[in-house]
């Protein structure tokens, strides 16, 4: 790139030039789009041109700080006097026509005095962005509610304010050949493992793609196994979740124009962690996390187990339940597997429709779907009412995942399992689960095992993943990720009591 630019400088230096000629050349480049504003002024007998793309620059700044002094001051303007007298910083002089074009589209205003050697450029970027909002997809009860926005500058600002340390590094990378986009790798230089940083940097740098549409797409480009249905990076729109992971030695990535950042390396269990566990007291935090683990397992297993039990191994159903299942099954003309697939499909429809619809309509959808359709399906003899409960339970359970990506994965995994259960019974479920476990054991995230700390087993990390301990005991970072500094604070000091009367 740099080399290119230098050669350009030589070839397309068109200055000095007539103002009308400059206008003609620029207009030629912006053919068919009336975006360029090119104004010409006479001052002290000299022609001066001011040009920019109006919606990319801050109009008031041009008005107040550029045009006013330019037209009101009673001095003959040259390139040097403009640089000296105009009260704007971020100024530079440019001679290459190509560079002018490039700068124009990122929000630069130019001033040109006729027959001068150079153009003066002012970066007066006006980027439209929405204001900071509450998190939509990852809602919390406790803790900060703020979410990332599409503006990278804003996101960097938030992250910087959350980690006010010179240790924080935000490396800049550019990805995309035709439509380059700015990407930041965020990590703590004294904590994060060097290998992780290098892997992340190298994977992003090595990308040879046209453009990156979003951080989710970047994730898919650089993940370890693109065939897997499991997400391998923890993506989040919550700055507190992002910075917590970064402060624990993980590597974060922010992408321009994307409201989600992602964090690596991740394990399967990190998708089930929520920062809320941290804000709760440790007992409640552990309980909620435990609930989530159970819920995930439950969500995967409950409908296939119903299908297997009702089709083949009814012996595992307790007698009382067998009676009620049998009675409700008797009215259903379909085989259990078809019945289950039908109902699961219905729930997925409701869920997808609910996500697409505007919020207000979406709520009504939920009620209509849940109560009316469910009850009607039973009355019509399409499904048994026991299955409705199981399917609803498993849908509910899959919503407990703090990560939307993992929740979706679990929704998808259920279907092959139902089919296996319907064809092979409990053996099919065991077969499916075994395949799943084999796959998970082989999976890596940034080259680190996906099932850590369960496999490879790391006893000291259990309290970070499966439960929480009182805060004065958890004085270490996760050993599985080999941070440069393992100890966060002295455990001995932390357990000392320092009351005033001592």
């Amino acid at each position: 790139m740099r080399k290119n630019r230098r050669s350009n400088k030589k070839t397309d230096n068109i200055f000095p030039i007539n103002i009308d000629e400059l206008e003609a050349r620029l207009q030629k480049e912006f053919k068919n789009s009336p975006d360029l504003s090119f104004s010409k002024y006479e001052h002290h007998g000299k022609k001066i041109a001011v040009f920019s793309i109006p919606y990319l620059v801050e109009a008031s700044m041009i008005e107040e700080n550029l045009l006013k002094p330019l037209l009101n001051k009673d001095i003959p303007w040259t390139t040097q006097t403009i640089l000296d007298e105009i009260p704007l910083n971020d100024s530079e002089t440019i001679t290459s026509f190509q560079e002018i074009l490039q700068k124009l589209i990122i929000g630069t205003a130019f001033v040109y005095v006729e027959q001068a050697e150079e153009v003066v450029a002012y970066l007066l970027l006006n980027k439209e962005k929405r204001s900071l909002d509450k998190a939509e997809t990852e809602s919390l009860v406790l803790g900060p509610k703020i979410a990332f926005t599409e503006s990278l500058i804003t996101n960097l600002n938030i992250v910087r304010w959350r980690i006010r340390s010179t240790d924080l590094v935000m490396e800049e990378l550019k990805v995309g050949n035709s439509l380059p986009r700015e990407i930041r790798i965020v990590y703590m230089k004294s904590i994060a493992n060097e290998a992780d940083i290098n892997t992340m940097r190298q994977r992003i740098q090595d990308l040879d793609v046209d453009e990156i549409e979003d951080s989710a797409v970047l994730q898919q480009y650089i993940e370890d196994d693109s065939l897997s249905i499991f997400p391998q990076f923890d993506s989040t729109e919550l700055p507190d979740r992002f910075t917590y992971a970064v402060s624990q030695g993980k590597v974060g990535v922010l992408v321009e124009n994307s409201p989600t950042g992602f964090i690596g390396p991740s394990s399967l269990f990190s998708f089930l962690e929520s920062t809320e566990d941290l804000y709760m007291r440790w007992g409640a935090g552990s309980f909620l996390r435990f609930i989530r683990f159970i819920a995930m397992f439950f969500s995967i297993i409950i409908t296939p187990a119903y299908v297997a039990a009702v089709t083949y191994q009814f012996g595992i159903i307790p007698t009382q339940l067998l009676i009620s299942i049998g009675q409700s099954r008797a009215a259903v003309p379909f085989s259990p597997i078809f019945e289950a697939l039908l109902l699961e499909f219905l729930i997925e429809l409701l869920r997808e429709a609910g996500a697409r619809l505007p919020t207000k309509v979406g709520q009504t959808m939920g009620i209509v779907g849940g109560i009316v359709i469910g009850q009607a399906a039973v009355d019509a003899g399409l499904t048994s009412n026991i299955l409705i409960i199981f399917v609803a339970m498993s849908a509910l359970a899959s919503f407990t995942s703090p990560s939307y990506l993992l929740g979706t994965t679990i929704r998808v995994v259920r279907f092959p399992l139902i089919i296996l259960a319907g064809t092979l019974g409990l053996i099919g479920i065991v077969f499916g689960l075994s395949l799943l476990i084999i796959h998970l054991i082989r999976l890596t995230s940034l080259g680190r095992p996906y099932l850590t700390p369960l496999y490879p087993f790391q006893w000291r990390d259990m309290d970070k993943v499966f439960f929480r301990l009182p805060i004065n005991i958890t004085n270490k970072r996760a050993k599985s990720y080999q941070p440069k500094k393992l100890i966060r604070f002295s455990g001995k000091e932390a357990s000392k009591k320092r009351d005033i009367d001592e």
Partner: protein, 380 residues
């Protein structure tokens, strides 16, 4: 190429296994309770209560029966008479008629052992009438179906996993261990309602006699440590005469003082004292909580408690001696003295079933009962 091969293999493995026959529950008749009766001409009749699920009918259960040479044969026979495939995977209780049980039930147990699909946790019981008669009891007083009702009777009358909750595994271990004889619960029909009436004492697999159900405590105590059970004892009134409150008792005094206790803790331990003369010693330890007395005995001091304990000891000991005498008469070792004897015997010689049958009526047991009344309530 490699992927193609793998896909082919996966497809083949799916296609070649073909379809596993499905067993949708709505097409099955799920046997809940089975009853076995022996008929005259070497045939057996199996009566089963089944659950069947049909949308049109409100009746959930039905009694079906079939005849055949073996249990499976009879079930097959019954199956051909109904529009459901009968399956016994959820069988909870198997009942044998008394007359059938007198001839031995081992041949009927065999299939329970051999067929892996049958649950081992099913309970076994004996019916005073024929099993068919018991299962056909149709009373409005039973809100549940008969199978669930009988199963419930057993469950409700037992704490932990003690008698009358005798499952197939328990029965088998008592049967095959030398020096033990099994015992099963016995059902009777009283006023059209089945009740749990007695303990059926078995000699090997044959029914030999019955002992009233209220003595189940004594059997359980011999087998395991017990707690939180109620014990009723009739003590002679005479020794307590002077402690009974005079003024309040106007009515004529009864001969026996009936008392009830809650057993807080009970345990037993049996030792072989004299191998030659077959003398055993059984220590019974009871921690009791007095909860009822038919006379107003004033428990003012330790002496009264001591007296009470002495009487309890005597009563329990006597009862045990009576029970043992009865068992010896039937030659059925339900108290498992044989296994104590066997564990003390020289290693070289294995005790055989017949040897113990000859020895058991000869044994003498010293029962040492140590009952302590820990609390007696606040009746002033």
């Amino acid at each position: 190429m490699k992927y193609k091969q793998i896909i082919c293999l996966v497809m083949l493995s799916i296609l070649l296994v073909s379809c596993i026959p499905t067993r949708d529950i709505e097409k099955l008749g799920v046997i809940n309770t089975g009853g076995v009766d022996k008929l005259d001409n070497d045939l057996i009749e199996v009566t089963s209560e089944i659950f069947h699920f049909a949308s049109q009918s409100n009746d959930l259960t039905r009694i079906v029966s079939g005849k055949g040479k073996t249990i499976k044969d009879s079930v097959e026979n019954a199956s051909s008479k109904s529009n459901f495939t009968l399956t016994a995977e959820k069988i909870q209780l198997e009942i044998y008629g008394k007359e059938t049980a007198k001839k031995g039930i081992l041949r009927y147990i065999d299939t329970l052992d051999r067929d892996a699909s049958l649950p081992d946790s099913m309970y076994l019981a004996i019916s005073d009438t024929s099993a068919k008669e018991l299962l056909s009891t149709d009373s409005e007083d039973i809100s549940l179906d008969i199978g669930q009702f009988l199963h419930g009777l057993i469950e409700e009358n037992s704490t932990d996993h003690l008698f009358p909750r005798i499952n197939f595994q328990d029965f088998q271990s008592s049967f095959y261990d030398i020096g033990k004889d099994p015992y099963l619960p016995l059902f009777e029909i009283e006023d059209g309602i089945p009740i749990l009436a007695a303990i059926a004492i078995m000699q090997d697999d044959r029914y030999v006699g019955r002992i009233p159900i209220k003595d189940k405590l004594y059997f359980n105590l011999m087998k395991e440590n017990i707690k939180d059970m109620t014990m009723e004892l009739g003590l002679p009134t005479k020794p307590f005469e002077k402690y009974i409150e005079k003024e309040e008792n106007i009515s004529k005094r009864e001969e026996t003082l009936h008392t009830s206790y809650n057993i807080l803790k009970g345990s037993s331990k049996t030792k072989l004292i004299d191998q030659e003369n077959l003398v055993f010693e059984t220590d019974i330890k009871l921690r009791l909580n007095l909860i009822e007395m038919t006379e107003e005995v004033l428990i003012k001091n330790e002496a009264v408690i001591k007296l009470l304990e002495k009487e309890v000891n005597k009563a329990v000991k006597t009862h045990y001696e009576e029970l043992l005498a009865q068992l010896q008469e039937w030659n059925a070792d339900a108290f498992e003295y044989g296994s104590v004897y066997r564990s003390h015997k020289d290693k070289g010689h294995q005790l055989t079933r017949n040897e113990w049958r000859e020895m058991f009526p000869e044994i003498t047991v010293n029962f040492n009962v140590d009952a302590k009344v820990v609390s007696h309530g606040a009746a002033d």
